[in-house]
């Protein structure tokens, strides 16, 4: 299986007490408390670990740090969510989860680079969402009061 964490992405195969980490063989064993694994011994050291999977993300606590791994879909698997890339269009993406407090432009408006198009409120702060360039607003994907996730398209500028 392919796992990614930060910039690293490697193939991990576990077989007969040996992990293959990107082709490197690491013998390991597990320590249990009841059914749960609480420590992993690898390379002569034992690490207390906790790990929980949710969807295609795996959260791991190990060596007093937390890591978030992503399970990369095998070839042919369809992704349920495709993140639009900021580079591929005039799309404007939400920088964080929050609530759209105000929309200050309408479809058809000519907009200039840096112009505030909407105000996103997350927790106790307001964040201005600005136009990345000069152009025309051709699509608005949100309205005042909407809750938005991080990375979703809010508007499109041509």
């Amino acid at each position: 299986m392919k796992l990614s964490e930060g910039e690293s992405s490697i193939d991990v195969v576990l077989e007969d007490g040996v992990a293959s980490l990107g082709g490197r063989a690491v013998p390991f064993s597990t320590r249990r408390s009841g059914a749960a694994i609480v420590a992993i011994e690898a390379g002569g050291e034992s690490f207390g670990v906790r790990a929980v999977r949710e969807g295609n993300r795996v959260f791991v606590w190990c060596a007093e740090r937390t890591f978030e791994f992503r399970m990369d879909p095998p070839a042919g698997a369809k992704r349920t969510r495709v993140r639009p890339s900021a580079a591929d269009s005039g799309g404007l993406l939400s920088p964080m989860p929050g609530r759209i407090r105000r929309v200050l432009a309408a479809v058809g408006d000519a907009v200039t680079r840096g112009q505030v198009l909407m105000v996103l409120e997350a927790m106790k702060m307001e964040h201005s969402i600005r136009s990345p360039r000069d152009g025309r607003l051709v699509r608005l994907a949100c309205a005042e009061g909407d809750l938005v996730e991080a990375g979703v398209a809010l508007a499109e500028i041509e």
Binding site: L3, V12, L14, A36, A42, R50, A63, R65, A122, K124
Partner: protein, 503 residues
């Protein structure tokens, strides 16, 4: 002192609702919680024996709705209301409405809330009471004209950089730093607009900006009979985006003489508005150890536990007793109260530790630190959903030790035991603060976090990759048989599952 109420409505959520409920139960008062419908799974609801559903509509229609809160008190037969912090805690209208409904208000008089809530009025009162205030303007015009000659002239006198502040603002909201005279009109306009929309008060004023100040606050308490005391200071200079991240007491910046004069000024500030109950007077302390009144928070502070720990007190209990008409306890008035040791509070936020942007999601695993000198006031736990409608504070870790050095080591130890999976937290930032030589020396100011060296992303050790692969549920390893895995679909991308390892 009047008889104790039988039931207390806690008009709040999160860790502070839980904190208040604990004291209520110890006093034999039954706590009653409230919640917004979509917050029915909130941590505080699970903690209370009884809570009232305020209906849907987000915080504005529930935790901030005076009529709904009064109705909840009526239907639950609660005869007292504690507002906690945030929400309606500094709303004079709420304080009046609670008293008007014949209920006991666990907070200062509405009149004192109002006087301190108006920052411009408060500045003027403090000056009159002989409390030093930050140099600035006192223009009290009801509406602001951004081309106001007087404000522009005053700005030039104060000098740049300076701060434009909304009179109704606070908590880092409604203020703008201005570096050049030509940017002042735009900042006046912007702050005026924010003030109007966020606080329904468009008045703005100017304040001198200090490059590396410290924020030191004093806990004060007053009773109905005119006695006011201070319960020493809290050092609150570790901040990001003007919001506190770590607090400690005592402050290394104060010597006994400075402590005495700041404490006296704090008492004068409270007296000037006829203060009763718990309040906090915030000061700015410059490099030359001049101090200036910033504002007074007319409620319980988030960071109140460090005062409780060093003095061995329960401030919520004191709030309730004073609201019932008890005088301040004699030892408080006799100057016999002396702090013991050192206490530090760390605020665990659901946020990116690098850019401080809030994070949301569901907490999948939560293990709290414990052991000697450790107290955790939590408002979240395993299964808690962290949304975007509420404050990202998850919990507070409060450590106490005989001296500052051992308190810092204890804080590092406790932080390293804290396991939170599922939602990113600022724990790495807190660890970096505790490790920084500047913080450890005690010679730090509000720009500490901005000056921390950049942190390298740690690489996962081999064991972490192996644990991830085990939890990912890759079959074929005899070392990793299914661990209490709920029914799982073939394709892990199809649905969210709660498969866990080491739970």
């Amino acid at each position: 002192m009047d008889a104790l109420p039988r039931r207390l409505l806690i008009a709040n959520r999160g860790e502070i609702a839980v904190r208040i409920a604990r004291t209520a139960r110890e006093m034999g008062i039954e706590p009653v919680g409230v919640f917004e419908s979509s917050d029915a799974g909130g941590f505080h609801v699970g903690h209370m024996a009884r809570s009232i559903d305020l209906g849907p509509g987000g915080p504005a229609e529930t935790y901030l709705s005076i009529p709904k809160l009064l109705k909840a008190a009526e239907s639950s037969e609660a005869t007292a209301i504690h507002p906690g912090y945030g929400f309606l805690s500094e709303n004079a209208e709420f304080a009046r409405a609670v008293a008007g409904a014949g209920l006991l208000w666990i907070g200062p008089p509405a009149d004192a809330i109002q006087k301190m809530g108006d920052k411009l009025q408060a500045r003027r009162r403090m000056r009159e009471a002989g409390v030093p205030v930050v140099p600035g303007s006192d223009a009290a015009a009801a509406a602001i004209d951004p081309s106001d000659e007087e404000l522009l002239r005053r700005g030039a006198e104060i000098g740049f950089p300076l701060l434009v502040k909304a009179s109704g603002g606070g908590g880092g909201k409604g203020m703008a730093r201005v570096d050049r005279a030509e940017d002042l009109p735009a900042a006046l306009e912007e702050t005026h607009r924010v003030g109007l929309s966020a606080f329904a008060d468009g008045r703005v004023y100017l304040e001198k900006f200090f490059e590396s100040p410290r924020h030191v606050e004093f806990q004060v308490f007053g009773d109905r009979y005119g006695s006011v005391v201070h319960l020493f200071e809290r050092e609150c200079s570790v901040q990001r985006r003007h919001q506190k991240v770590l607090e400690e007491t005592p402050s290394v910046a104060l010597d006994p003489r400075l402590r005495e004069s700041m404490g006296r000024a704090a008492i004068e500030a409270a007296r000037a508005v006829g203060y009763v109950g718990a309040g906090t007077v915030e000061f700015l302390l410059d490099e030359r150890k001049n101090f200036y009144f910033l504002e007074m928070n007319t409620r319980l502070q988030v960071e109140h536990p460090i005062t409780e720990e060093t003095l061995g007190l329960d401030l919520v209990r004191a709030q309730i007793e004073i609201a019932l008409g008890a005088p301040l306890p004699p030892p408080w008035r006799g100057g016999k109260l002396l702090p013991q040791g050192h206490s530090i509070e760390l605020r665990l936020y659901a946020e990116d530790p690098e850019d401080f942007l809030p994070r949301s999601g569901r907490i999948l695993l939560w293990e709290e630190p414990a052991g000697p000198g450790v107290r955790v006031d939590a408002g979240a736990g395993a299964g808690t959903t962290v949304g975007v409608d509420y404050d990202p504070l998850l919990a507070k870790l409060v450590v106490s030790a005989p001296d500052r050095r051992s308190a810092i080591e204890r804080a590092r130890r406790a932080l390293s035991e804290w396991i939170v999976l599922g939602v990113e937290t600022n724990a790495p930032l807190l660890a970096a603060v505790l490790a920084s030589p500047e913080f450890r020396s005690g010679r730090y100011s509000t720009d500490l976090i901005g000056r921390l060296p950049s942190r390298a992303r740690p690489q996962p050790p081999d064991a972490a990759w192996i644990a991830a692969a085990l939890a990912a549920g890759d079959g074929g390893s005899p070392a990793a048989p299914a661990v209490s895995a709920p029914a799982r679909s073939r394709d892990p991308w199809d649905e969210r599952s709660g498969w866990r390892l080491g739970a």
